[in-house]
């Protein structure tokens, strides 16, 4: 026991010293600490476990394998390690794990980190430790807004993209009058604002928008009100997520609002939500998806490889983790080093196409990844041909329209 304690102390002291000695640009070596370490920090046990979770680690491992296969002996990063940690959806745990990953487990990059408080905390650590952080799981635009920093990148989606994609496209396609219900907290309020702006820009009107309590089980007040509004809304836009969304959709179906001429558009929905609710509960619902596995042959081929390893179809988050890891390694390859500042320089302004991201640019001003996203509709089960075949792609929203323009609030 004593010996063990002592050895732990020695190891700790050693790690501390190593932590001070290492750091960015550590000396003459091209690759610091003898290898490149990619760390996936996400929720593997709570609400986001299905959306991303452990399978994102597998996706990152696939990216490493592809990188190695592509460059072979010429690979700058010849020794690559993938590690992971479960933040259990607790921001404080995410914060201390991020420090530990950077300091003691020598992570060169942290990937994923769902939920905004956790993501912003990790971004602060990335800034302090001068190590790269590529966020995928969080939706907040603060990451590329006021709280952006040189070492943080936001990859895949954000609240603006979700709201704007669905709001403006559905309006432009003829549904001019909207009734919006949103959960009354920061995310819902942001979504309401972005949606309203997008709808008005596309020539539509928001008849009414109502905040709902959060969390909430009973949406009948709002749903019963909808058909009696004047003018009668053509679309009910819901910004609810997770369990609240499930409840709202069930009640929407019970009140048969679709038969009364009110369609449903959802602000934030993932394929995992459709999977757990069943496609019939959501059939006909329009939403924006950053990526869909069955959208084209290239996606499908990758999804098949993913399925062989995990037994399930990938969500957008899995593909985004793969892409982020791959683009990071490619940047290391171009820079010839894993030094964070050099890799940031390579990532900034980089344009590329890969399985996840079409017509992609990493915007230099605020480190937001711009890429084509899909406007999707949920298929009824009669049209579902195979498991996870839930989405019909209505159209592709080009990268420059999908995301917000850089508004200058970010100072890197």
């Amino acid at each position: 026991m004593k010996a063990k304690g002592l050895s732990i102390a020695v190891v700790t002291a050693g790690a501390l010293l190593a932590g001070c000695g290492g750091g960015p640009g550590g000396g003459g070596g091209k690759i610091s600490d003898g290898g490149v370490t990619l760390a996936v920090l996400n929720d593997q046990s709570a609400v986001y476990a299905d959306l991303s979770g452990k399978n994102s680690v597998t996706a990152v491992e696939m990216a490493v394998a592809d990188y190695k296969a592509k460059y072979g002996d010429k690979a700058v990063a010849d020794k690559i390690e993938v590690i992971s940690a479960d933040h259990q959806n607790k921001p404080d745990l995410a914060n201390s794990k991020a420090q530990e990953l950077y300091d003691r487990r020598r992570a060169d990059v942290i990937l994923d980190v769902p939920s905004s408080a956790a993501a912003l905390a990790v971004a602060t650590q990335a800034k302090a430790k001068k190590k790269i952080f590529i966020d995928i799981g969080a939706a907040t635009t603060e990451l590329e807004g006021k709280q952006c920093n040189k070492y943080t990148f936001h990859y895949g989606y954000n609240t603006y993209m979700l709201a704007n994609g669905t709001g403006s496209t559905v309006t432009a396609d003829g549904a001019k009058t909207w009734y919006i219900v949103y959960p009354d907290y920061a995310f819902g309020q942001d979504m309401n604002k972005s949606f309203t702006a997008a709808i008005q820009k596309a020539g539509g009107t928001v008849v009414r928008s109502d905040p709902t309590p959060f969390p909430n089980d009973n949406f009948s007040t709002f749903l019963l009100k909808a058909p009696n509004l004047n003018p009668k809304p053509q679309v009910l836009g819901t910004m609810q997520a997770g369990g609240d969304l499930v409840n709202l959709v069930k009640q929407y179906n019970e009140y048969k609002l679709q038969d009364k001429g009110i369609d449903l558009a959802v602000g934030l929905m993932f394929i995992t939500d459709i999977h757990s609710l069943g496609p019939d509960a959501l059939a006909g619902t329009t939403f924006t998806d950053p990526w869909y596995w069955n959208a084209n042959q290239q996606n499908r081929a990758w999804a098949d490889k993913f399925m062989a390893k995990t037994g399930t179809r990938p969500s957008f988050a899995h593909a985004a983790n793969y892409s982020a890891a791959l683009q990071y390694l490619e940047a290391v390859q171009r820079a010839g080093t894993d030094d964070a500042d050099a890799v940031v320089k390579e990532l900034e302004g980089h344009t590329f196409n890969d399985v996840f991201a079409d017509n992609a640019t990493i915007r230099a001003e605020d480190h937001l990844l711009l890429h084509d996203v899909e406007l999707a509709q949920v298929k009824p089960s009669s049209e579902v041909k195979e498991p996870w075949d839930y989405e019909k792609i209505l159209k592709t929203i080009p990268a420059e329209q999908a995301f917000q323009p850089a508004d200058g609030s970010c100072r890197l």
């Binding site: 479960d86 921001p91 794990k97 408080a117 912003l120 905390a121 603060e142 709280q147």
Partner: protein
């Protein structure tokens, strides 16, 4: 010999102090700081539960209020972090006055429910008041200012934050050992009798509630500075629940058991984060059930009983020790301390 030595208060306190000082050498410093901050929250809950007989299920309100207040003070005024932490603790205590005033009239499950309800109200306010609290994004980038000293290394910050925790733990110990603490115990055991003896029961309980909230606030402040942010999680009911769990694991009414419980839970959470299990909830839950079933008085309570039993056996080896055990099982922590102290 060792057993007798361990039971001496200065020796035990010394061991505790050395353990607290050595902690960041043994485990990752931010985790060590987490253990100490959570220990304060758990001790605060135990102060009410173990000594006042009041199960608070809403201590996240005080922990979180202090975390946000501390964060706001540090963020907007640039004052040294100790000032911010003290400010946070005071805010928590101030909040506890109205909440406590309305809740201490109740007991048992009603008290637990009312404190939970108040905590949820605070959660709601914090979630809504996003201009100040940042909503679900939390309050980010809280600085660690201390007269220009560089405390960015969590290892050094641990020693800067530790005095607050030790101060809080000492205060809790003093409260429990004081005549006030004795009255509190008597109110817990027999409120009607205490009232008949002329003690204003509600006022005693209120004071205990406010003191407990201040301790929880102290912990919350240290936590916020240590992490550099305050988040909605701090005011969420799971935080209250976790604190109650720590107390039960460590042993209700043992004070130091709560510290032990905090250490176990925080280390466990930290370990499970990288252990690769998917079902962390099941693991923590199973451990909780096992401890509650096997160690009825918590880790500390059971350990203390074993220690006392061992001493008794040594002191009177001729006797069977059967009746002795019965006495051990019912004695109060104060009684143990008195006998071992002197």
């Amino acid at each position: 010999m060792i057993i007798r030595l361990l039971a001496r208060r200065p020796v035990a306190a010394g061991i505790g102090l050395i353990a607290a000082l050595a902690l960041p050498w043994l485990i990752y410093p931010p985790v060590a700081m987490d253990i100490m901050a959570w220990a304060l929250l758990a001790v605060a809950v135990d102060l009410l539960l173990g000594y006042g007989g009041l199960l608070s299920f809403g201590h996240a309100a005080f922990w979180g209020t202090s975390a946000y207040t501390t964060g706001l003070i540090a963020l907007h005024t640039g004052l040294p972090f100790p000032v911010a932490i003290v400010g946070g603790a005071l805010a928590a205590a101030a909040l506890a006055v109205p909440i406590g005033y309305l809740s201490v009239r109740l007991s048992g499950i009603y008290f637990a429910m009312v404190t939970l309800a108040f905590a949820q109200m605070i959660y709601f306010i914090v979630n809504q008041w996003r201009d100040v609290t940042g909503g679900e994004n939390g309050l980010q980038g809280v600085p660690r200012e201390l007269l220009g000293a560089d405390l960015s290394d969590p290892f050094y910050f641990y020693y800067a934050g530790l005095p607050f925790v030790l101060l809080g733990l000492w205060a809790a110990w003093r409260i429990v050992r004081s005549p006030f603490g004795q009255v509190l115990v008597s109110i817990r055991d027999n409120p009607s009798r205490a009232r008949a003896l002329g003690y204003p029961v509600d006022r005693y309980r209120l004071l205990a509630f406010v003191l407990s909230a201040a301790l929880a606030g102290l912990g919350g402040g240290v936590f916020a500075i240590s992490h550099g942010f305050a988040s909605l999680h701090d005011v969420y009911w799971t935080t209250s629940g976790q604190a109650v769990m720590m107390v039960i694991l460590g042993g209700i009414g043992t004070l130091w058991g709560a510290v032990l419980g905090a250490a176990v839970i925080v280390t466990l959470n930290d370990y499970l984060a990288t252990a690769g299990f998917e079902e962390t909830g099941i693991v923590t839950g199973a451990i909780f059930v096992l401890i509650v079933l096997l160690f009825r008085k918590g880790l500390w309570g059971t350990g203390r009983d074993l220690l006392t039993a061992a001493r008794a056996r040594r002191a009177r080896p001729a006797e069977s020790g059967e009746d002795r055990k019965v006495e051990v099982a019912t004695e109060r922590p104060a009684a143990v301390a008195e006998r071992s102290g002197g």
